[in-house]
C-alpha cells in the first residue's frame, strides 16, 4: 500500500502538524520526510547494518565499538537473534498489550524442535537437515503460542504475566528433567544452515559468524516488513483498540480473543524463528541455555526501546545483547574479574536509569496519522 506511506503534504491541518512536531524525536522527524527520502534512508541504514562486521576497520571509532572478549561477528549474531526476539515480543506486549514474561519459552520450543529433528543425539533419529526442520519448528512454536494463549487470554493482565512466566518455567523444568530433552547433556551436532563457497568450504562454518549475522539480519528485515504490514492494517488497529478499551473494541465488532491469540501466535512464531537461528549457529544446546532471566531481559529491551515501536524494539533488542558483550574481557578495578560477570548487574542499573529518565522508552511509540495520504487535500481544503 504505497499510498499510505505517502507522507502528508502541505494540506495537513495545522493542528495535525503541531501534534507531530510536539511528539517529535527521531521517529517524528523520519515520519515527516518524503517517502523517497525515507526509502533511501532505510536502504542506507540496511547497508550499514550489513557492513557492521567490518566496523573494526573504521579508524578511531571502530575499535571502540567492537567487542573484545567475544569476536565481533559472534556478538553481532547474538544481537541479531535478540533483535528478532524483541521484535516478536513487541507484537505481544507493544501492539496487543499482553504482558508476557515467559517469552523465552517460544525461543526454546523453536530451538528444541530443531534439535530434536536434526541432532544425532535425539531419540527421533531423524537427523534432518537444518532447513527442513524450520517449518516444523515454527509450526510447533506457533501452536505452543495458541496452546498457551487459549486458556490464559481471558485472564487479566497481571495474571497473564505470571502464567506466562510459569509457562517458561515449565518448559525449562521439562527440558531439565525429561529424558527426551536430555537436560544438561543437551543436543550436539545440530547441523548448520546449508550452502558452500565455490571452493567447497561451507558458508556457515564454525570459525566465522559473519554469514550467520547476515542471515539473521535478512530474517530481521523480512520480519520488519511483515510486522509493519500487520501494524498498519486492521490487525494493528484491532490490537490498539483492544489495548485502549477492550470492551468498547468488542462492542465495535472486534473479535478480541481472536486478535489476542493472533498476537500470541505471531509472537511465538518470531520467537521460534530466533530459536531456530540460534540452534543453527550454536550446533549445541542444553537446558541451561534458556534461563528465565532471558525473557525478562528481552522484555526489558522492548520496553526500554519503546514498547509498540518497531525501531524502539530493534534498538532495545540490540542493546540488551551489545552492552553485556561489550563488557566482556574488560577487567573491573575492584574485584579484578571480567566485567562480563557484572553484565546483568550493570544492566539492571542501566535499565533503571533509562526508565527513570525516559519512561516511555528510548524511541517512544507515536501514533501515526497514516490513513490520511493524499486525499487530505480533498477532505480538508485549506
Amino acid at each position: 500500500m504505497t499510498t499510505t506511506e505517502t507522507p502528508p503534504t502541505g494540506a495537513v491541518p495545522a493542528a495535525e502538524k503541531k501534534n507531530w512536531r510536539t511528539s517529535g524525536g527521531v521517529r517524528g522527524w523520519f515520519g515527516r520526510q518524503h517517502w523517497a527520502v525515507r526509502t533511501v534512508l532505510a536502504l542506507v541504514f540496511a547497508a550499514v547494518a550489513y557492513l557492521l562486521p567490518y566496523a573494526g576497520d573504521v579508524p578511531v571509532l571502530g575499535p571502540q565499538i567492537i567487542t573484545e572478549g567475544i569476536d565481533w561477528p559472534s556478538a553481532l549474531f547474538n544481537m541479531s537473534y535478540y533483535v528478532l526476539l524483541a521484535l516478536g515480543l513487541n507484537v505481544v506486549v507493544g501492539f496487543a498489550g499482553l504482558l508476557d514474561l515467559g517469552y523465552v519459552g517460544f525461543f526454546a520450543v523453536g530451538a528444541y524442535t530443531v534439535a530434536m529433528l536434526t541432532s544425532p543425539d535425539s531419540v527421533l533419529h531423524t537427523e534432518w537437515p537444518w532447513l527442513a526442520a524450520i517449518p516444523v519448528a515454527l509450526a510447533i512454536a506457533m501452536l505452543s503460542g495458541l496452546i498457551l494463549g487459549w486458556p490464559t487470554l481471558r485472564l487479566r493482565g497481571d495474571y497473564l504475566a505470571i502464567v506466562t512466566l510459569g509457562f517458561a518455567e515449565i518448559i525449562r523444568i521439562f527440558a531439565t528433567s525429561s529424558e527426551t530433552l536430555r537436560g544438561d547433556r543437551g543436543f550436539s551436532d545440530i547441523p548448520h544452515p546449508p550452502g558452500s563457497y565455490a571452493d567447497g568450504k561451507p558458508i556457515f562454518g564454525v570459525a566465522d559468524a559473519t554469514p550467520y549475522y547476515w542471515l539473521g539480519l535478512s530474517v530481521i528485515i523480512l520480519v520488519i516488513f511483515g510486522v509493519r504490514n500487520l501494524d498498519r492494517s486492521r490487525v494493528g488497529r484491532s490490537w490498539l483498540a483492544i489495548r485502549e478499551d477492550e470492551e468498547a473494541a468488542e462492542i465495535m465488532g472486534v473479535r478480541t480473543i481472536k486478535y489476542k491469540l493472533w498476537a500470541f501466535a505471531i509472537g511465538a512464531f518470531i520467537g521460534g524463528l530466533g530459536g531456530v537461528m540460534f540452534a543453527g549457529q550454536q550446533g549445541f544446546m542444553n537446558s541451561q541455555t534458556f534461563i528465565l532471566q532471558f525473557s525478562i531481559l528481552v522484555l526489558a529491551g522492548v520496553v526500554m526501546g519503546g514498547s509498540g515501536n518497531l525501531f524502539g524494539a530493534i534498538l532495545g533488542g540490540a542493546l540488551i545483547s551489545y552492552i553485556p558483550d561489550r563488557l566482556r574481557g574488560i577487567e573491573d578495578p575492584i574485584f579484578h574479574t571480567d566485567l562480563f560477570g557484572f553484565r546483568f548487574a550493570i544492566f539492571g542499573l542501566v535499565i533503571i536509569a533509562i526508565m527513570i529518565f525516559r519512561p516511555q522508552g528510548l524511541i517512544p511509540s507515536r501514533r501515526r496519522a497514516m490513513e490520511l495520504k493524499d486525499r487530505e487535500k480533498e477532505v480538508a481544503p485549506q
Partner: protein
C-alpha cells in the same frame, strides 16, 4: 469484586456489573435453536423485540419484566428518571449483560447470550453514555475500526498485502471519511481522538457506530453536556441517520429533544415500563407526569 451487593440501579448501570460470561455456551452461529422465532408474517415491521426481560444483580432488580418492540425505520425513545434501567436495558440489548429471564430478538433472531462482536456484526451498533473512543487513535482510525467489522481479510491478507485486503482497507478508509463528513467532523480526520472537543468526540462515536453498517443504532444520551445549539444540530443528525434507513433507539434525558425527534417512546421507572406511545400520548400520561415530569418543567 464478583460478589453481588446492594447498590442502586444507576450505580450498577455505571459499573460493569457482571458482564456476560464469554465462555458461556451460546448459539453462536446462525439462528439459535431453542428460541421460538418471530415469524416474519406476524409483524413484518418489527425490528427488535424485547420480550419480558428481567435482569437482576444479586438482590436488585434492574429490569422487571420489560417488553417493547422497535419498528423498522423509526426513531424510538427510551426515557425515564435516573436509575430507571435505561442503560441496563441497552446493555442487555448489546450483549454486555445477559438477561436473567426473557428474550431479546433482533430481526426475528434471539440475541441473548450472543457475543458482543456478533451482535454488532448482526446489525446493532451503539454509542456510550460516557464517550468511549480509542483515545490514541486518529478520528479516522476510530471509524475504521467500526468499518473493519465487516471485512473479510485479516492477518494473512495484511501480512502479505493481498490485493483483496488492500481493496478492503481502501474501501474502509473511504467509507470512514464519508462517515466523518456525514457527521460533520471530516476536517478532524487526522487528529488523535483524545484531542477532539467533547462535541466532536460524541459525533465521532456516532460515525464509528455507523461504520459497522447497523440496522439499529442505539444512542446512549448523545446530547449529554451539549449546548442548545449543539442539540439542534444533533437532532438534525439523528433525523439524517434515520433517513438513510437506519432505525434509531435513543436514550435521553432532555425531554424537548426526545419529544421533538422520536416517533414512539417507552418510559421506564425503577426497572419497569410505565408507559408507551407517541410523544404526545406519553406526555399526557399521568403516570409519566408523576414519575418523570413530576416537577413542572418547561420541557414540553
Amino acid at each position: 469484586m464478583s460478589e453481588p451487593h446492594m447498590e442502586t440501579p444507576q450505580e450498577l448501570d455505571a459499573a460493569n456489573a457482571r458482564p456476560v460470561d464469554r465462555a458461556m455456551p451460546t448459539g453462536t452461529v446462525g439462528r439459535s435453536v431453542g428460541e421460538p422465532e418471530l415469524s416474519g408474517g406476524r409483524s413484518g415491521d418489527v425490528l427488535l423485540e424485547v420480550d419480558h426481560v428481567t435482569l437482576r444483580f444479586g438482590g436488585v432488580v434492574a429490569l422487571n419484566d420489560v417488553s417493547f418492540s422497535l419498528r423498522k425505520g423509526e426513531i424510538f425513545g427510551l426515557i425515564g428518571p435516573n436509575g430507571a434501567g435505561k442503560t441496563t436495558c441497552f446493555n442487555a440489548m448489546t450483549g454486555v449483560y445477559r438477561p436473567t429471564s426473557g428474550g431479546i430478538r433482533f430481526q426475528g433472531e434471539s440475541i441473548v447470550g450472543k457475543k458482543k462482536h456478533e451482535i454488532t456484526r448482526g446489525g446493532i451498533a451503539r454509542t456510550f453514555q460516557n464517550v468511549r473512543l480509542f483515545p490514541e487513535m486518529t478520528a479516522l482510525e476510530n471509524v475504521m475500526v467500526g468499518a473493519d467489522a465487516h471485512h473479510k481479510t485479516s492477518v494473512v491478507g495484511a501480512l502479505f498485502r493481498l490485493p483483496r485486503h488492500w481493496q478492503e482497507e481502501k474501501a474502509g478508509r473511504e467509507k470512514s471519511l464519508e462517515l466523518l463528513r456525514f457527521v460533520g467532523i471530516e476536517r478532524r480526520a487526522g487528529e488523535v481522538s483524545r484531542n477532539l472537543s467533547y462535541g466532536e468526540q460524541r459525533r465521532l462515536e456516532i460515525a464509528r457506530a455507523l461504520a459497522t453498517n447497523p440496522t439499529l443504532l442505539c444512542l446512549d444520551e448523545p446530547a449529554a453536556g451539549f449546548t442548545p445549539a449543539e442539540k439542534v444540530e444533533l437532532l438534525e443528525l439523528i433525523r439524517k441517520i434515520r433517513d438513510t434507513g437506519v432505525t434509531v433507539l435513543l436514550i435521553e434525558h432532555d425531554m424537548r429533544l426526545v419529544m421533538g425527534v422520536t416517533d414512539r417512546i417507552v418510559v421506564l421507572e425503577f426497572g419497569k415500563k410505565i408507559a408507551e406511545g407517541t410523544p404526545a400520548e406519553v406526555r399526557d400520561d399521568p403516570k409519566v407526569i408523576a414519575a418523570y415530569l413530576g416537577v413542572p418543567t418547561d420541557a414540553a
